[in-house]
């Protein structure tokens, strides 16, 4: 039984493999399916890294076009999705670099900060704290909070916790070691927690939307 299952597992093909094969055979509609399947995630990742709507739109378009052009280079050792994410991350970092002319921007930037390595705000949060805000207020708080993180932390948190990539996939996508991903993820989570405490901790006064540190 175990043997049968393992053979079935080995033969099980990710649905993207068939789509990629169809694209290679000249079927553009198969690429259409891949675009529809992943465009939201790619746009979200590009927004997380660039923090700029216009750049995210360009990244999304360029990442898919590049993937189409380079499909022959896709080996199938990794999932199509993680391969695509890697292209989108590189495009995003390039745009971020252009916006900050003269400043080097990489996923190694600002990661030496000690902020968040030791929790300071230890007040407990209100139960279901997000209920105290409207959807748009909450989205604004979440955007503003993640925007304050160094790009190298933001991207690790976005891939690992928001998009659900594994630690190994995140490391492979970013060209980082597994310990580096783990260390950044811990500090990203703790920094976000610390910053969100401002809005979500139990308090008696009025809600503090828009209040800066």
């Amino acid at each position: 039984m175990a043997t049968i299952q393992s053979i079935a597992g080995e033969n099980e093909q990710h649905p993207d493999v068939a789509l990629v094969e169809r694209v290679r055979a000249g079927d553009v509609s198969a690429f259409d399916e891949l675009v529809r399947k992943y465009e939201r995630q790619i746009f979200r990742i590009a927004q997380h890294i660039t923090q700029n709507r216009e750049d995210a739109e360009d990244v999304m378009q360029d990442a898919f076009l590049k993937a189409y052009e380079k499909l022959d280079q896709f080996q199938g050792n990794s999932k199509f999705y993680t391969w695509l994410v890697r292209i989108a991350v590189n495009e995003s970092l390039m745009r971020l670099r252009r916006r900050r002319t003269g400043r080097m921007v990489s996923i190694d930037e600002d990661v030496e900060t000690d902020e968040g390595s030791v929790p300071r705000d230890l007040a407990d949060w209100a139960p279901d704290p997000e209920q105290n805000y409207t959807q748009s207020e909450l989205a604004e708080i979440l955007r503003k909070t993640i925007q304050g993180l160094p790009p190298g932390f933001r991207v690790v948190f976005a891939l690992r916790d928001v998009e659900g990539l594994s630690t190994e996939e995140t490391a492979e996508t970013l060209g980082l070691s597994i310990p580096a991903v783990k260390s950044r993820l811990l500090r990203a989570r703790l920094q976000l927690r610390e910053r969100l405490s401002r809005y979500f901790k139990r308090k008696t006064g009025p809600a503090a939307v828009g209040v800066e540190k």
């Binding site: 529809r36 739109e57 052009e69 989205a139 811990l186 989570r189």
Partner: protein, 78 residues
């Protein structure tokens, strides 16, 4: 277990990547350390909030526009 030792294992605990023995040690620390309990719960909540709220949603119109642009270029052979 000290708070620093607990903190070093925080992610593994959240991601369920600890052995049964380690989990027992971590839980024992939590029973007597309110600060670490708050840190653990609020960090879990942080992840859950980011996971469950779409903060960068693409409007359908934008999606269609970009999609058409991509497909038009691909059909031309990029």
């Amino acid at each position: 277990m000290t708070c620093s030792e607990f903190l070093a294992m925080l992610d593994d605990m959240i991601d369920n990547e600890v052995s049964a023995n380690m989990r027992a040690d971590l839980e024992e620390h939590l029973r007597c350390c309110e600060h670490c309990e708050v840190t653990l719960n609020t960090t879990r909540k942080t992840i859950q909030i980011y996971r469950s709220h779409e903060i960068y949603e693409m409007p359908a119109s934008l999606r269609e526009r970009l999609h058409k642009a991509i497909m038009a270029k691909c059909k031309k052979g990029c």
